[in-house]
Amino acid sequence: MEAIAPHAQNAAPPRPGGLHGFVLDWAADQRVFKGVSWGKAMMWIFLLSDTFVFGCFLLGYMTMRMSTTEPWPNASEVFALEIFGTHMPLILIAIMTFVLISSSGTMAMAVNAAYRRDRRLTATLMIVTALFGATFVGMQAFEWSKLISEGVRPWGNPWGAAQFGSAFFMITGFHGTHVTIGVIFLLIVARKVWRGDYDSGRRGFFTSRSGRYEIVEITGLYWHFVDLVWVFIFALFYLW
């Protein structure tokens, strides 16, 4: 492209922003998302579709909770723990929330380090993020086994509306799966960063193309989305 139009490069005025720029971008008969690589645009579109998936889960949960005639179990008490003899309501969920937010922070730092070409720091931060993610999944496994041992099933529970179990297992299960996939994704990219694939131009085994440091940002988009979904689950399922 640079070889074809060297003059236009120097002469081009900056693209307008705001609504005018929005209309021009969509009406230009060219790529719509200027300055955004296909990888990033596709990740955003995937995340949009995932938004609808989780949106519909939460919507289904709302519908069940609003239409049932039985009392809804009190999440504050269901997820309470005894810690050193003290009764702490919802404490496990609070810790899980803080773990996930910490991981989001280290991920943001990793993206920053990646664009500064700091290989070691990027890979380390990504591995720390993955460790936080694995901790989160571990705590979720603990939470699930605790509830199952107390008699919560998708078709019933000892405290009230039977729909509580199905909504709980469906929503947190799907979210936990996303976290697990994210951990795997993080570890794969961290390994490539550590090895210096994006400096040496080494080709990936799947696409046989060389990658760019932008993949760290794309991985970050996915990871932040997982945290974002948890924000909604925490507020609407656990606190409501």
């Binding site: 929005f22 021009l24 230009a28 955004v36 579109i45 919507l59 049932t68 664009y115 974002l228 507020a235």
Partner: protein
């Protein structure tokens, strides 16, 4: 239009190079401040439950903290505030359809609830 398109084409070639070199590089301070706020807001939402706030106050606080956290994550951590509007609108506007769906289902579940109350009332349901 053709005129503008030519210019945009040329500019795209240049900005594509720039983007590859710089990406979404922002000062670390911004991330740290947002990180801190996310912790504070999460703590606040936990305290809402801890102090057993009830009723309208509870729902309002939960939803405000939720939206603030979601907004911070999308705007800063996911860099949406630095993207062009073409991408921001393509991602942020479609979820409005979910809100419309929510509104529909609120009416529907109220109706189902009413039906259940009147049909199950015989056996105390």
């Amino acid at each position: 239009m053709a005129h503008a398109a030519t210019h945009q084409h040329g500019h795209e070639a240049r900005s594509a190079t720039v983007v590859h070199e710089e990406g979404q590089a922002h000062p670390i301070r911004v991330y740290l401040v947002v990180w801190g706020w996310l912790f504070v807001l999460s703590l606040f939402s936990y305290l809402v439950d801890f102090f057993h706030l009830q009723g309208l106050l509870r729902w309002t606080l939960i939803l405000i903290f939720m939206m603030l956290k979601a907004g911070l994550i999308v705007a800063v951590f996911m860099h949406m505030q630095w993207e062009r509007l073409a991408l921001a609108y393509a991602v942020l506007l479609p979820p409005i359809a979910v809100l419309v769906f929510v509104a529909i289902m609120v009416f529907e579940s109220d109706y189902v609830h009413l039906l259940r109350l009147s049909y199950f009332s015989a056996d105390g349901g």
